[in-house]
């Protein structure tokens, strides 16, 4: 076991965890990091620095709903003859830590329950004849690998601290980690480690005690709010998180007032990770520019926000230090340490065939989410015990009498007949994920994008009952881009698709690859059916490598052709259906799109001037 203090690197993550230990009302810490960065080791070591006896509950990814929320403890119920309640994982974590490894892979209904518990501070159990409220105030510690997909925004919103994602590329840090790990293995229970741990614990105790006395000036508060605004952070809850983080940081440093470093840390861990836009720093504005001009001029809405902030500024002018604008300046610093673009490491080797690509039925008897019970054969699925008991219960008296009459011996407390047996009916996250892959290059790009957008909205509005999802990938220039991650929301689709770039080369292969990756990710979250909708003339002219690495030699026509053929074969071998919609007006220039369709399973639609509905219908057919 590696102790908290032994872990080298991940300093920001460590700081975040310590802030959380000081003020659990920060909600939690989410740590994104690549495989092998030691994130889960760190999260588990977090338990060491907490007060003794604090629950630390790990949430397994395959948790069932009744284990998560709680339900009837069947065994005890049968033994005692009265209903005995079993608490779920969420309530077991009460006043402690709920730890989720691979948070982004957690099933969406489980995520909803975690969110709900965090919002209420308790779990409402309304299941199988039970109606209970269990307290459930916990700190959520989640780690995940961003290449597995993102964590749902709604959940992140309830977690105060989000550690910015960085990959560890510094070999010195790596070497240090290795050395430290080796050292730990050599000397189990090393004295130094224990002393260090105790020191940290003492520090945290002192900070917790000091926390109620730590205060923040009004200007500092305004600065935080203003920063949240200029970063375009959604919602008002973040303000509270950021303020709490700053206060906790001050307490951790044995101060009762908040200083620059505290604010910076709060910005880094609370606001910057939620930014929806990055304000640009104007280099030349370092000296006496009036505060009005510090905001980038292209954001008109900031004008009215500026007005109320000015008044307190005037009061605070004397003490030059902590005007809200100064704090915004700090924020800029924090932004600059922003996460580096994470570069996807592509390996085309993973062409293995996956069985789950086959069409699954929406309702089945084995997996997915348990929705209700129905009559059925014991062997045809999982037996729903409580409903079975319920249906057997009223007949107990009469059955016992009957048996007694027949002279049978009664050796069981309960007589359950075949017709009582209920089996669980599960619901798989059914529905199809439609991935639109739209050529955004060339002169017809605007037209194609409009058609795609219309088709996306159309599909979303009409396909509600099927729980279908839609994603959209556009490609142009060197690389493809996931404009709309898998979503069911018309609103989101509308918003994300409003701005669409066009022009440049045609990286078809890159788009295919991205679509395939997106599908694979969705598969881990339970989607089983996919449909790729290509809206293109089928002519790719940029190789996969050029998208990743600008210095890569330009791929030849044959190489590009090969990439596309290979990808197409992999996609269809993976059980993914595709259609190719050709909207080319010029009949003579056709030829490439049908060839692409040939590679992808021969579903080709020639729809010049296509209406959005037509494309949507073609996709659903």
């Amino acid at each position: 076991m590696i102790a908290f203090t032994d872990i080298v690197g991940m300093d920001l993550a460590k700081q975040a965890l310590m802030l959380l230990a000081v003020d659990p009302s920060l909600g939690g810490v989410v740590i994104p990091a690549a495989v092998g960065a030691g994130k889960s080791t760190l999260a588990r070591a977090f338990a060491d620095i907490l007060p003794e006896g604090t629950p630390f509950v790990e949430l397994p990814l395959n948790v069932t709903e009744d284990r998560l929320i709680g339900g009837v403890d069947l065994e005890a119920t049968l033994v005692r003859g009265e209903r005995v309640v079993q608490h779920g994982v969420l309530s077991k974590a009460h006043e402690g830590v709920l730890y989720v490894d691979s948070l982004s892979l957690l099933d969406s209904s489980a995520v909803s329950h975690v969110m709900d518990a965090m919002s209420r501070g308790e779990v409402l159990v309304e299941r199988e004849g039970l109606s209970e409220v269990h307290p459930s105030k916990f700190m959520l510690v989640g780690t995940y690998d961003p290449s597995d997909g993102e964590v749902r925004m709604g959940l992140l919103d309830r977690v105060g601290l989000i550690v910015p994602f960085t990959t560890q590329n510094d070999y010195r840090a790596r070497r240090q980690i290795l050395q430290r790990n080796m050292a730990v293995k050599d000397a189990e229970g090393h004295e130094d480690t224990r002393d260090e741990l105790n020191m940290v614990k003492g520090l945290l105790d002192a900070a917790r005690e000091l926390l109620p006395q730590v205060a923040m000036t009004k200007e500092q508060m305004q600065g935080i709010v203003q920063s949240a605004l200029s970063l375009g952070v959604e919602g008002n809850r973040v303000d509270i998180f950021a303020i709490r983080a700053a206060l906790a940081s001050a307490a951790l440093n044995q101060r009762t007032d908040v200083d620059e470093d505290d604010l910076k840390l709060a910005l880094k861990l609370v606001l910057v990770p939620r930014a929806t836009r990055m304000p640009e720093r104007e280099e030349e504005v370092q000296d006496e520019m009036p505060p009005e001009d510090e905001m980038p001029p292209e954001e008109p809405e900031t004008e009215d926000e500026e007005a109320p902030a000015d008044t307190p500024d005037a009061d605070a002018e004397e003490e030059q230090e902590e005007t809200p604008d100064m704090i915004e300046e700090l924020m800029m610093d924090a932004v600059e340490t922003e996460l580096p673009d994470n570069i996807m490491n592509i390996s085309l080797a993973s062409k293995k065939k996956s069985k789950s690509g086959s069409r699954g039925e929406a309702l089945n008897n084995r997996r997915g989410r348990f929705v209700r019970s129905q009559e059925g054969e014991m062997r045809s699925g999982k037996v729903a015990l409580i409903p079975t008991l319920i249906s057997a219960a009223p007949w107990q008296e009469s059955r016992k009498r009957e048996r007694a009459k027949k002279g049978h011996k009664l050796n069981t407390a309960l007589i359950i007949n075949k017709e009582d047996v209920k089996i669980k009916k599960f619901r798989d996250k059914s529905g199809t994920l439609f991935i639109f892959i739209v050529d955004a290059s060339g002169s017809m790009a605007l037209n194609r994008m409009r058609q795609a957008k219309g088709a996306v909205s159309h599909l979303l509005q009409n396909a509600y009952v099927h729980r279908d999802q839609v994603a959209l990938i556009s490609f142009r220039g060197k690389q493809a881009q996931l404009l709309l991650p898998p979503s069911q929301s018309v609103d989101r689709a509308k918003r994300e698709l409003d701005v669409l770039p066009t022009g440049g080369g045609t990286p078809l292969a890159s788009a295919m690859y991205l679509a395939w990756e997106t599908a694979k990710q969705a598969r881990t979250k339970g989607t089983s059916q996919f449909m790729f909708v290509f809206i293109t003339d089928g002519r790719g002219n940029i190789g996969l490598q050029s998208g990743m690495n600008p210095e890569a030699p330009k791929a030849t026509k044959e190489e590009i052709e090969q990439e596309i053929t290979g990808l197409a074969a992999s996609v269809s071998a993976d059980g993914i259906a595709s259609i190719v919609v050709d909207t080319q007006m010029n009949y003579l220039s056709r030829g490439e799109a049908p060839k692409l369709a040939e590679k992808l399973g021969r579903r080709y639609f020639y729809l010049p001037n296509a209406k959005a509905e037509q494309i949507a219908e073609a996709a659903m057919s």
């Binding site: 909803s112 969110m115 004849g129 926000e305 509005q461 929301s489």
Partner: protein
Amino acid sequence: MTQTASAAKKTASAKAKAGAAAKASAGPKKARTKKKQGQAFPFTAIVGQEEMKLSLILNIIDPRIGGVLVMGHRGTGKSTTVRALAEVLPSIERVKDDVYNRTVSQFIEMEKTGKDGKALTAADMTIEDIQVPVVDLPLGATEDRVCGTIDIEQALTSGVKAFEPGLLAQANRGFLYIDEVNLLDDHLVDVLLDVAASGRNVVEREGISIRHPARFVLVGSGNPEEGELRPQLLDRFGLHARIITITDVESRVDIVKRRREYDDDPEAYVKKWDKEQKKLQARILKAKDLLPAITMSDDVLTDIARLCMQLGIDGHRGELTITRTAHAFAAFNGDKEVTMEHVKEIAGLALRHRLRKDPLETLDPGEKIERELAKVLGEEVDA
């Protein structure tokens, strides 16, 4: 080491309230505590979000408006506001201990006879005052708990087939709240649609056949980016309040301050706002009393009909909702007659979600309604 550890434990346990006690409860269900622990944030202390607050208040004044759907950004106080609602609700009369919250006349009409087989009369029954119930429907609820089912304990121990009412029974004559309503499972949505349309819950399962009244104000909240709401369910909501991030720095600082003050000492904070809460409650009660006496001229009615026609709204639920809401709004303002000024204020709430969805439409529904409204009123439209 042990010293620091025990000190830490002290702080941790000091923070804990009655939590540990509840944890040990494994007893029979009758002992369950459904009451929210601690006090909710005061409704009147919520900064901004007037649209949502008004919609909720109008539904208290006239529950026939048909509920509110609150959609909007994360972290903007949606669920806080709905949960704060309970404290400003008036009380209703029901037959004592009736699980369906029925009035005396409803009780007599349904039950007809008492346990002894004699015809019931009003004199037989005791009445009690209860606060209008607010029932929380969590996403993980199973159908049997929502609709009610056989009481398994009674069935197992005494072989009696007794009905154990579900959340729909508890919500009768009150509010039914669903957070993250757009994530609700389809089969529960089916149940809700059915019950909301008929006002009664019919249970035919496990050898039980029961029907009971289930009329409630449906309140849903959610973030549109998490998923779409089923169109039929959307149509069920009388009003649609939109909620967005507050962007005014002063208000936001105010929010933070109030929240922190409340977190530090909830009881003292609730007390501090007691006067405001009482004031609002009184105003709502007055509006409720005034409501039956409120009139609306035919001209206003015609204008409403024209507005709905021009917006191309299907069916008549739009007109009906707008009319009821305008009445409630007038009552809330202490006005005896509904004017187009009232209508103007609430038209967006009542119609926003009833406009036909056009994927390529860029105009916000609210703006569209305002524009048409201006046309109906013969005002200049600056396009």
